[in-house]
């Protein structure tokens, strides 16, 4: 025991160098802590925030969405334009190189898409490349014949199999990252530690589940010049140690995911800034039209009159989220607060009552609310209980709540276990369609049995419409139909939040609806 005590004292005498900002090898590096996990560094193997955020920093895409903006801008390509709704031509910047010195040409671009589709990793995002995929053999998807043409080293022409005005946005996503065809295998993924790209950073070290170390890529050409030589990304398995680490200055930035309670607590720490930017996270309640309750439009509309979004934001999330009145978040082209127009900004129980009376529906209506207690964070429980009390408080509903863990929940909501259930969404790319097609075309990905031929026709129309003003109008129309049919009720939009030390610059600028954490914009004073 004496020798153990001596060991402790000697280590204490070494000072507090185990953590904290004084730990950095040089003043030009900083440490990001996150609870996100990395599935794969290879763009063909992932469809999650943790992986994509590293890929955005390591790889180039043809186009990118600059911080704070919504429209694509050149990156590896100096231009990408629609020739018609089914064809996009991109011209690469001349002289591009990967971090290993290999030239980046149109052949690498084609190879990148081709292998992503062919590998078809179950964890991957090749599903986003449907417009250039030949799925005639589901066991062996492949790049559609002639889908990508490369007439010379700097020209790439995409021939889409259907009109798709969102494909330009897909080109900005991490699934479209450009890889070196001389390094990456065509039929399988490259081990994480070996990935190389042409982006502003290169991967210097990767310890799965522990940390990634990125160093500025001297061969990068583009507008995303790195301000910091070296970046450490540390992965936390739980928010508690992440919060403790940023609170005590052991890391410089904490980003995703701290609870509203933790964020409010950190507001009181004078050594850090809690920074908030516009987010595109979307929380919504989905009606299961396969149930007796869900299939009655009057009931769905009545609930839309009753929901109090402000109370949900305040009581369940400590005011850290913003009520939303549309399936499409604010800031997106064509967005319109259709639910506010139709149902008002505040609850109107009288109108709900009148509606149900006119429809001849007896009240109170028994309704089952479903939620999953951990997948979207513990505050989901509070939201479910808040909505329940709002519905019950109107006297028109007799709501009960039921929950299941995520894996089981995904099965139950499709099996009519709930009349109304909560889901969350992050966009794959910043386009209104990414909030429409996945939700309202033929039951959506969640299989809620909603199908409206007019909606499907409008979705096809907006996907093929190149005139942005006309497209916006179609999107507005879709939102109005959704507000009327109420296959789902939008609840709130989340903010993009990070906590950073006072000596960190550039974080606030990168907090935007894309949820891309742009390492190249961030620097540390001193």
């Amino acid at each position: 025991m004496a020798s153990t005590g001596a060991l402790v004292l000697s280590l204490a005498a070494c000072g507090s160098s185990g953590g904290g900002t004084g730990n950095n090898a040089s003043g030009s590096s900083w440490i990001l802590g996150t609870t996100e996990t990395v599935t794969a560094m290879d763009p063909a193997g992932s469809y999650d925030f943790g992986s994509w955020n590293l890929q955005y920093n390591i790889f180039q895409q043809l186009m990118v969405v600059p911080a704070g903006e919504t429209q694509p801008a050149p990156d590896a390509a100096q231009s990408c334009d629609y020739d018609n709704p089914k064809q996009i031509t991109c011209k690469l910047r001349p002289g591009l190189e990967f971090s290993n010195g290999d030239k980046l040409t149109s052949s690498d671009v084609k190879f990148s898409f081709e292998r992503n589709i062919a590998i078809a990793d179950p964890n991957g995002s090749s599903v986003l490349l449907g417009s250039i995929t030949d799925s005639s053999n589901p066991d062996k998807p492949k790049l559609a014949d002639g889908a990508i043409e490369t007439p010379d080293d700097t020209t790439v022409i995409f021939h889409l199999n259907k009109p798709d005005t969102t494909f330009m946005k897909v080109l900005t996503s991490a699934t479209s990252s450009i890889v070196d065809e001389d390094v990456f295998p065509a039929d399988k993924e490259l081990p994480d530690a070996k990935v190389i790209g042409s982006g502003p950073y290169k991967l210097a070290q990767y310890k799965a589940g522990e940390q990634a170390v990125l160093e500025a890529n001297p061969k990068y050409q583009g507008d995303r010049k790195a301000k910091t030589d070296r970046v450490f990304v540390q992965y936390f398995s739980d928010p508690a140690p992440l919060k403790a680490a940023i609170d005590s200055g052991q890391i410089d930035i904490a980003w995703r995911t701290l609870s509203p309670t933790d964020l409010n607590d950190l507001e009181g720490n004078s050594d850090v800034n809690v920074l908030k930017g516009q987010g595109s996270e979307f929380r919504y309640w989905v009606w299961q039209l396969g149930t007796k309750v869900g299939k009655q439009k009057a009931i769905r509309q009545a609930a839309a009159y009753i929901i109090d979004r402000d109370a949900i934001a305040k009581n369940a999330y400590d005011g850290t989220v913003k009520p939303t009145y549309s399936i499409v978040p604010p800031g997106f082209a064509g967005q319109k607060d259709s639910f506010k127009e139709k149902y008002g900004a505040t609850p109107d129980v009288a109108k709900a009552k009148q509606l149900l009376k006119q429809a001849g529906i007896k009240t109170p209506i028994k309704i089952r609310l479903g939620y999953t207690p951990t997948h979207y964070g513990p505050n989901t429980v509070d939201e479910a209980n808040e909505l329940k009390s709002e519905l019950n408080g109107s006297g028109l509903f007799q709501a009960t709540t039921d929950d299941a863990e995520w894996e089981r929940y995904q099965t139950l909501y499709k099996q009519n276990a709930y009349d109304l259930f909560i889901l969350g969404w992050y966009p794959d790319f910043l386009d209104a369609d990414n909030y429409l097609t996945p939700f309202i075309r033929d039951g959506g990905f969640y299989g809620n049995n909603y199908s409206n031929p007019k909606v499907n026709a409008l979705l096809d129309k907006e996907l093929g419409e190149t005139d942005s003003a006309k497209r916006d109008k179609i999107i507005e129309q879709l939102q109005d139909i959704v507000a009327d049919d109420v296959p789902l009720i939008p609840s709130w939009n989340g903010q993009n939040v990070a906590v950073a030390g006072k000596d960190i610059q550039g974080v606030e600028q990168t907090l935007d609806p894309t949820y891309i954490f742009r390492f190249w914009m961030i620097s540390k004073k001193g």
Partner: protein, 340 residues
């Protein structure tokens, strides 16, 4: 003695051979439990993003739609040929997971044991010597509380108290140390020592303190009680009376006679505590963001990663069995009364 020598090797061979059916039963149970539990690696990864058709295609790609018996036989065949496969959720060879993260769990559990013994044995001894006094009562209460208190609670409390002092509260080392120290043995404490990087070894040791003390406190509760009880029993022995009758001072009676005999069962319990330590390590690693196998196991359970969970559970089981056999051997060596 010749009989003991003859039976011990046979006992060891029997125990080692029993590992095979034990592992097979364990693997089968884990296989079944994972598949009975809702969800699968695909739904855990991309559920909430893809429609039913895309999910079915993803499951097909992952081979999850094959008949259960085919998946089972495939896996058993792989394990039998020492091909543990790759994780489904992040495509890492299972053996790489064990290699890269096993060292962290090893040093955490060893460190915890050192603290547990350093705290538990002296306190147990003191409690035994001061039986039925206030000192005895306080130590016994401490033993019970440290054993009963949930590790994550103790750990979080420690973090809240220690973090403002500038002490590291998470991970096994600073990011720079992990970046600069090359992995030779994949045990970071050893690699830091042999790396020659200035401050690296101290950095890793500093990071070990809080988690090792937290986990060690849990274990110390067991040893406090065990040493106390065994000391009291030893003190009742005839040989102790004889020693006292010869006029040997009490402190020497305890130190040279009673205490040594009281330690013999402690060695047995150390082996039994390996399983407890490993389960405690899971919670400790989670609390301190420790990059050990326990943390990885929880991560892969969350991801419903069948092959990863099966592989890691098998590894844990093998370790527990090996340690148990080693403890039995040591027991037989130091205590001639032990027979197999």
């Amino acid at each position: 003695m010749a009989a003991a020598k003859g039976s011990l090797p046979r006992y060891i061979v029997q125990r080692v051979l029993l590992i095979i059916p034990m592992i097979w039963v364990l693997l089968t149970l884990v296989f079944l439990l994972l598949r009975v539990a809702p969800g699968d690696p695909v739904s855990a990864a991309v559920g909430g993003k893809l429609d039913a058709q895309a999910m079915a295609a993803a499951r097909h790609q992952a081979g999850l739609d094959r008949p259960m018996i085919v998946q089972y036989l495939d896996y058993i065949k792989g394990v039998g040929t020492l091909h543990f496969g790759k994780t489904i959720s992040d495509n890492r060879p299972i053996l790489d997971v064990i290699r890269d993260n096993g060292g962290a769990t090893l040093t955490l559990t060893l460190g915890a044991f050192i603290f547990a013994l350093a705290i538990g044995i002296p306190l147990g001894l003191l409690a035994g010597r001061r039986r039925d006094t206030v000192t005895d009562a306080v130590i016994r209460i401490f033993g019970v509380v440290s054993y009963a208190a949930p590790i994550f609670w103790t750990g979080l409390l420690a973090v809240i108290l220690i973090a403002p002092l500038g002490w590291p509260t998470y991970d096994i080392a600073s990011p720079e140390t992990k970046f600069l120290v090359p992995a030779h043995t994949h045990i970071l404490l050893v690699d830091a020592l042999i790396s020659g990087q200035p401050g690296a070894f101290t950095d890793v040791l500093q990071h070990h303190l809080l988690p090792c003390v937290t986990l060690g406190l849990l274990l110390s509760g067991v040893f406090i009680r065990l040493v106390r009880v065994n000391l009291l029993q030893s003190l009742k022995g005839d040989y102790v009376e004889a020693a006292r009758a010869r006029g040997i001072p009490e402190r020497l009676v305890i130190r040279r006679h009673a205490f040594r005999n009281a330690l013999v069962p402690v060695i047995t319990v150390i082996g039994l505590q390996v399983a407890l330590t490993m389960s405690g390590a899971v919670l400790t690693e989670r609390t301190f963001n420790w990059p050990g196998l326990g943390n990885q196991l929880v991560k892969y359970i969350d991801a419903r990663d069948y092959t990863a969970v099966q592989g890691l559970v098998t590894f844990f089981a093998i370790v527990v069995v090996i340690v148990s056999v080693l403890v039995d051997i040591i027991n037989a060596i130091i205590d001639p009364r032990v027979r197999y």
